[in-house]
């Protein structure tokens, strides 16, 4: 989000995206070879840039809906010089809970809100200043339990034109993610909370050396401060407050890349990124664990003292060959390093997943990826077709030991196991870009696996995000000037999960026996959404539309979880699937003052 990393990018358990489409100018996804200016992640990068706002006219637009509402305001502060954009959303599904007769539901909450703001100021012909921010919170609460989580990001960016060949971009970025689990016990509050705070200073230059070479170079320096999970207990709660010292680290990188137009038909982009990641002391104890997870040595380091540093070089190269007016081939190789690790043992996305920096125990995650793709346009560019394939090999992958204690555990690193990973796949995409009917079909066939010493008898197993098939079809049809109909169909293979392979009796009850890690599958997920947008009469000052939509039209019961239980007469065992969000109709009214 305007260069600031967003941790845990979903609202309400993945039902809404963190990003408000009203506030977004561009969203670029780098799945294949990432340019050298991006770093710190193994997976693909979604580079989201917020709208700059309108510096000529005051504009208000928004939408009122059953489940959520949004408002978008663009304010020109100084004509042609400065503007402010504010965009906000709030869902209120929980309003319906208030209608419930059950006392404990009436007091429940379930909502999120977020606000985007961006100020843009032209300092002069050669200078521009942007200040942007994002604030989002999700809240879930049932009687004495509550869970809050969310991101805050802030970016200040200064664009400066040094001369017609050299541009400078300087940014200062703050990023913060928190979660807080609150429990009321005996009238006292216990809170389990976690914080992740980044300060990032970034300098980037663009140098248009010749018409054939566009060079980008620069560097950045990030200070990470992470509290993985601590306890704050109120008086009389029967628990002790256990404050954790923040885990401090300092990440530095230098990069250079050259977009070289070698010939009219050949473009080559090569880059090099050098990164250094240092773990810093925080006044507390640091432990080194042996392979069984027992502490073998303890050291104490003063605040901000350098403990150890990992230096890594990340080479990246990609090339495209345009062999006809409408067709090209692209290929590339890249190495990526990740030093702030997401450790999760849950089956779904979870706001309380833990992020942890590289240390003497945890090595930087490394991914080497090669990719190759074919791109072609047909019928005067009316159709775009692409086929891409990739292979990725990963080192220093992390997973939990069986039975790990993940809650506010100071010795968490002793609960980790390490290994390797691999991912490969084929992505196909076809898009119709113009005419009354537009839309696209995308299909991906892929495999993602891990091999961790101490898990699954040291054999390869499916990663939780492994999806064999992933299909999406989107169609948009302009019936006439007033009515647009759209439909979306989504299908993907169910997540890889561990299913029982037997059962036994212990402690007076039946328990499941497990053998293969992630050897089973959730049922495949599929649904269709349809929407009709009806544009009302447009005047010079005002335009509006009604949007009627149905989520999951045919009410398919997609599995959210699978559990096992004894059948009614206690002689056999059966599998039970729970699904959420069956069919949801929605109406919203969207408006825009011109």
């Amino acid at each position: 989000m305007d260069e600031a990393p967003v941790y845990n990018a979903s609202h309400l358990l993945g039902f809404f995206s963190t990003f408000n489409s009203d506030a977004i100018k561009t969203a670029t996804i780098y799945k294949g070879t990432q340019p050298a200016q991006y770093g710190g992640r193994l997976a693909s990068v979604l580079d989201i840039r917020m709208n700059d706002g309108n510096n000529k006219k005051f504009r208000v637009s928004g939408g009122l809906g059953l489940i959520s509402s949004k408002l978008n305001i663009e304010i020109p502060l100084i004509k042609d010089k400065s503007s402010l954009l504010i965009s906000a959303r709030r869902t209120y599904a929980d309003v319906f809970l208030k209608l419930s007769k059950k006392e404990n539901l009436k007091t429940s909450s379930l909502f999120f809100y977020d606000v985007n703001a961006k100020l843009n100021y032209k300092l002069g012909k050669k200078d521009r200043l942007y200040i942007s921010g994002y604030f989002g919170r999700d809240k879930l609460g049932v009687s004495s339990f509550g869970l809050t989580w969310g991101n805050v990001t802030g970016t200040a960016r200064w664009n400066h034109i040094i001369n017609d060949k050299l541009f400078s971009n300087t940014s200062f970025i703050i990023s913060n993610y928190i979660y807080d689990i609150g429990i009321k016990s005996n009238g006292a509050k216990i809170s389990i909370n976690s914080t992740l705070q980044d300060y990032n200073l970034k300098q980037e230059f663009q140098y248009f050396a010749t018409t054939r070479h566009k060079i980008k170079f620069g560097g950045n320096s990030i200070h990470h401060s992470i509290i993985p999970g601590q306890i704050e207990a109120g008086e009389g709660s029967g628990a002790n407050t256990i404050k954790q010292r923040a885990k401090l680290s300092w990440e530095n990188a230098l990069f250079i890349c050259d977009e070289w137009t070698a010939t009219e038909k050949i473009n080559i982009n090569f880059g090099l990124r050098g990164s250094g990641f240092s773990l810093l002391g925080n006044g507390g104890d640091f432990y080194i664990y042996n392979t069984s997870g027992n502490i073998i040595s303890t050291d104490n380091y003063a605040m901000n003292k350098l403990i150890n540093t990992y230096f890594k070089i990340e080479p990246r190269v990609s090339a495209s060959f345009i062999y006809s007016k409408t067709a090209s081939i692209k290929g590339g190789y890249s190495r990526n390093i990740q030093n702030v690790h997401l450790i999760s043992n849950t089956t779904g996305d979870n706001p309380t997943d833990i992020w942890i920096p590289s240390s003497k125990n945890i090595k930087p995650e490394i991914a080497d990826q090669i990719s190759l793709g074919w791109f072609k346009n047909f019928k005067d560019n009316q159709y775009e077709v692409s086929i891409e394939s990739y292979y990725k090999s990963m080192q220093n992958q992390i997973d939990y030991r069986d039975g790990a204690n993940t809650l506010a555990n100071d010795l968490l690193e002793g609960e980790l196991l390490y290994g390797i990973g691999r991912a490969y796949g084929l992505e196909t995409y076809i898009k119709k870009t113009s005419g009354k009917f537009t839309g696209w079909i995308s299909y991906t066939l892929s495999k993602t696996e891990k091999k961790i010493n101490g898990i699954n008898a040291d054999q390869w197993y499916n990663a939780k995000q492994d999806r064999t098939h992933d299909l999406s079809i989107v169609g948009i049809y302009d019936l006439n000037k007033k009515i647009t109909i759209s439909a979306t169909f989504i299908y993907y293979t169910g997540s890889a999960i561990t299913l029982p392979s037997g059962k036994y009796y212990i402690n007076n009850q039946v328990q499941w026996l497990y053998s293969d890690r992630n050897g089973g599958r959730m049922p495949a997920y599929h649904r269709m959404d349809i929407a009709v947008t009806w544009y009302r009469k447009q005047t010079e000052k005002y335009e509006s539309s009604w949007n009627f939509s149905i989520f999951n039209v045919y009410g398919h019961e997609n599995a959210y979880s699978i559990s096992f239980r004894e059948n009614a007469d206690h002689t056999k065992t059966e599998a039970v699937q729970t699904s959420l969000f069956k069919m949801i109709p929605a109406i919203s009214y969207n408006f825009k003052f011109l």
Binding site: A93, L97, E103, N104, L105, L110, V142, S143, L147, I181, N186, I190, A233, G238, A239, N240, N345, T346, T347, N350, D402, G403, N405, L407, A408, N409, T498, L499, P500, S501, G502, K503, Y504, Y505, I506, N507, N508, Q509, Q511, L513, Y514, S515, D516, N518, G519, G520, P523, S561, E566, H570, K572, T573, A575, V576, Q577, T578, S579, L580, F581, K582
Partner: protein
């Protein structure tokens, strides 16, 4: 604290489920694993007769009848050199006749079946006294519902691990004692050296005034706690990738061996 985490997750799911959801029985294609031996045994404080149960796992699709394993050689030894070979008193049920359970002693079990050997070691912790069972209102359980808090003074600066079994006899039901099937464990990670006030969350539902409650508290060692902790992660609401619990047995069988203290309190729930 684990139980609180679980409770939170239950609430969370309960809310979603109420909002819009449905459940149905589905048929899954499950692989069958080779049958494994299951050994369960406890050495209780001050007792001289202790039981060890040995059975085998079955396929998921089979009936809930678990074959007991006869003819095993079971030997228990303590760190003072006392030793006893157990007698099979019923199929799959083995007993000592005179081996006393004492706090601080370490017990080792060796089981030989069909040329395979399984062994485990457990040290009996010093007993923490269960003072009383106290009931507080359960905000989640509806009107008048209560949850139990086993009150005891946790000793400071040592790691203490507790396990509970709970039974309820409902005041208006003629069903006798019902056992709570939940795995209920507590440690002192967040409550070292305090008078513990952490409620126990079972799955049997809130207590109502007039109900009788029977609570057994066991002080267990670290490895047995690890076993039950990892077993509880597999329970519904655990949401973690399930795996076989971390057993204190070596040799590749399922189950646990616990030297433990055990106290039981029976109380009628007051309004």
């Amino acid at each position: 604290m684990k139980s609180i985490q679980n409770k939170l997750f239950y609430s969370f799911i309960a809310l979603l489920v109420i909002l819009s959801s449905c459940q149905k029985v589905i048929v899954l294609d499950l692989k069958d694993a080779e049958a494994k031996y299951v050994i369960e045994g406890e050495i209780n404080k001050d007792e001289t007769v202790h039981y060890i149960y040995i059975s085998k796992s079955v396929k998921f699709s089979e009936d809930n009848t678990f074959p007991s394993v006869s003819g095993a050689t079971v030997v228990i030894t303590d760190n003072l050199g006392n030793t006893e070979t157990l007698t099979e008193i019923n199929p799959g049920k083995y007993a000592t006749s005179n081996l006393i359970g004492v706090e601080g002693r370490t017990y080792t079990i060796n089981v030989s079946i069909d040329g395979k050997t399984f062994s485990a070691t457990s040290t009996m912790p010093t007993q923490v006294n269960l003072d009383l069972i106290y009931f507080i209102d359960d905000d989640f359980g509806g009107k008048g519902g209560k949850i139990a808090i086993p009150i005891r003074q946790d000793p400071a600066n040592i790691q203490n691990n507790y396990r509970f079994d709970m039974w309820v006899k409902r005041v208006n039901a003629n069903k006798g004692w019902e056992r709570d099937s939940a795995i209920i464990i507590q440690d002192d990670q967040f409550a070292d050296g305090v008078v513990t006030q952490q409620p126990v969350f079972g799955t049997i539902g809130a207590f109502m005034p007039g109900d009788s409650c029977l609570t057994t508290m066991m002080c267990i060692d670290k490895n047995v706690y690890k076993y039950f902790y990892s077993l509880s992660l597999n329970s519904p609401g655990g949401a973690a990738t399930p795996s076989n619990p971390v057993s204190n047995f070596t040799g590749g069988c399922l189950g646990y061996f616990s030297a433990q203290t055990k106290q039981t309190v029976k109380i009628e729930v007051q309004p």
